[in-house]
């Protein structure tokens, strides 16, 4: 069934209009950000409210790199390097603490880096942002290129997710989440694995940021260091199902579509409605749509069984 879906996704950009292609590209992008966050949230148990900082670092690294003549791929890799370094410097001391501190600290990290980007006008253009080199292709080609780029990135994220679950790093992460003291007593170097997980999460987000920058051709601190991005991504994870492979993607899809609908119909009530929906999801579907659906089917199957045995 997934294969069918996959084929459909490949064919879509050739049938749909630019608006829809861009919408789905955004869904892919948020799917990547959401999956990166779920790596920390669902598997490790640490919620990085400020993970958007890596989106910003990726976007700015790409922008600054390209404005100095670097090809996109190199600039993007630069972004990954910068993000990884930040993770290691910041993560090693802060990941030793409990989740609360990490959550707050990550917001602070984002804010600090945003402020630095805003003020280091010489390097980053300050409040004026950065313009990316123009891509000399017709607009619908551009749409398709970025559609497939983001899709590829999303597939990469899924692949990394699967690899991690089945591997030794997956065991390490899960045991840290289950009982950190016990994990340590077994020989798990918890600081290393926590930081490593964050580095992976950051790198994926950073790539997304770089690609986004190139796609939009223009970035500014307010867009790419916007805490709303990671908070809404966390929401997407919750919506779709924490700790599942497809959950964050589903959540991204539902959220983006909803967001578009609300934006176009109820612009003034946009944030309010988002807030209300969040409240409703948390109160009534606390484990996300995917898990909720699964449980619903299980319950129905069980009751059907009960009816059968009674007959």
């Amino acid at each position: 069934m997934l294969l069918v879906l996959f084929l459909v996704l490949i064919v879509l950009p050739f049938i749909l209009s630019g608006y829809w292609i861009r919408l789905i590209t955004m869904v892919f992008m948020f799917a990547v950000i959401a999956k990166s966050i779920d790596l920390m949230m669902g598997y490790l148990g640490y919620v990085p409210f400020g993970n958007v900082v890596f989106f910003g670092l990726g976007a700015y690294s790409a922008g600054i790199g390209m404005s100095h003549g670097l090809p996109f791929i190199v600039a993007m890799l630069l972004g990954i390097l910068v993000s990884a370094v930040v993770c290691i410097l910041f993560g090693t001391p802060v990941l030793r603490l409990r989740g609360h501190y990490f959550a707050v600290a990550s917001i602070g990290l984002n804010g600090a880096l945003m402020a630095i980007a805003l003020n280091a006008t010489g390097l980053t253009g300050g409040a004026m942002g950065i313009i990316f080199p123009v891509i000399s292709l017709p607009p619908d080609m551009i749409n398709k290129v970025f559609y497939f780029s983001m899709m590829l990135l999303m597939l990469l994220a899924i692949g990394i997710n699967v690899l991690i679950i089945r591997s030794r790093i997956g065991f390490a992460i899960r045991s840290i989440k289950s009982n950190e003291d016990a994990a340590r007593s077994l020989g798990v170097n918890t600081t290393f694995y926590k930081t490593a997980t964050w580095v992976i999460s950051a790198s994926l987000t950073s790539i997304a940021g770089a690609v986004y920058g190139y796609w939009m051709s223009y970035i500014s601190t307010v867009d790419v260091f916007n805490v709303m991005v990671s908070v809404t991504s966390i929401l997407m994870v919750l919506l779709g199902g924490v700790g599942t492979i497809l959950g964050p993607i589903l959540g991204a899809g539902i959220f983006q579509v909803l967001s578009e609908v609300i934006w176009s119909q109820f612009l003034e009530l946009h944030s309010g409605i988002l807030g209300v929906i969040t409240i409703l999801v948390i109160l009534f579907l606390p484990r996300g749509v995917l898990t909720g659906l699964r449980e619903m089917f299980q319950a129905r199957a069980l009751s059907r069984k009960a009816v059968k045995t009674n007959e």
């Binding site: 089945r166 591997s167 030794r168 065991f171 390490a172 899960r174 045991s175 989440k177 289950s178 009982n179 003291d181 016990a182 994990a183 340590r184 007593s185 077994l186 020989g187 798990v188 170097n189 918890t190």
Partner: protein, 254 residues
């Protein structure tokens, strides 16, 4: 005499003004089976914590196979070959019994070279040894207390330790289970050649299998010797039963 495995030299840890463990020294030799006893609150678990690097601020020195391990972290201690169980079991919740033991195999002393598949194999061996094989797919939440203790033991065995520190593995067990546990500990010590230091309150267990016993009271070592010596040691008796009992015993005569 066999090789010196672990040396604890005047190890201490203070929690504020409380001297939880104060200047405790002892040696452990390769292959020994040592009982570690003392009244509640004597500092036995704290000592194990000290040995395994749980406390950031401690005093004294701990040598393992000749190397100073006083300042290293718990995961490094485990890597070197010292495994421990917890008094209040700490199973990896959310993972199955088998996965718990696999975690031990993957990160223990030989972990670096083990593939996930090989780890599963090793886990199966440890589960077999502790009689938990049938429950290997159980989620941890479904286990009874004795099962949890068995899981903890299997898991620490999976790390392939040289020295095993057990913390009250028999608490809450019924007599038959205690006997099984005793057999298991002896097997691990004699057949698998793992040195064991075990904290226990069940006296008959300690007396029956320990080669040597170390006694702690209010953070200090008060006695060390073979089971017979310990059972007749006046300070030990006093620690457990109180001074009045001691005095009564000596005035009544033996």
């Amino acid at each position: 005499m066999s090789k010196l495995l672990l040396e604890a030299k005047e190890i201490s840890v203070h929690f504020g003004a409380l001297k939880a463990v104060e200047k405790v020294s002892f040696d452990i030799r390769q292959g020994e089976l040592i009982g570690f006893i003392g009244p509640n609150g004597a500092g036995k678990t704290t000592t194990i914590n000290l040995l395994t690097g749980v406390y950031r601020k401690s005093y004294g020195q701990v040598l393992f196979q000749g190397n100073d391990i006083t300042a290293i972290t718990p995961n490094q201690v485990a890597r070197l070959g010292i495994a421990r169980t917890f008094q209040i079991t700490k199973p990896l919740v959310g993972m199955s019994v088998e996965e718990n033991v696999m975690a031990g195999a993957l990160f223990g002393t030989a972990g670096r070279n083990l593939s996930v598949k090989a780890a599963r194999q090793k886990a199966a061996e440890c589960l077999d040894l502790t009689g938990m094989n049938e429950k290997r797919d159980f989620p941890v939440s479904k286990l009874t207390v004795p099962d949890r203790k068995r899981l903890e033991l299997a898991r620490s065995l999976a790390t392939d330790p040289t020295l095993l520190l057990l913390d009250e593995v028999m608490a809450g067990l019924r007599p038959k289970e205690i006997d099984e546990s005793l057999e298991l500990i002896k097997t691990i010590n004699e057949k698998m050649n793992i040195t064991i230091l075990f904290i226990e309150h069940v006296m008959r267990a300690v007396m029956s299998i320990s080669q040597r016993i170390i006694v702690l009271n209010t953070g200090q070592k008060i006695a060390e010797g073979n089971p017979k010596e310990i059972s007749e040691n006046p300070q030990v008796i006093e620690a457990y039963l109180g001074r009045k009992y001691m005095e009564r015993r000596s005035t009544d005569g033996e």
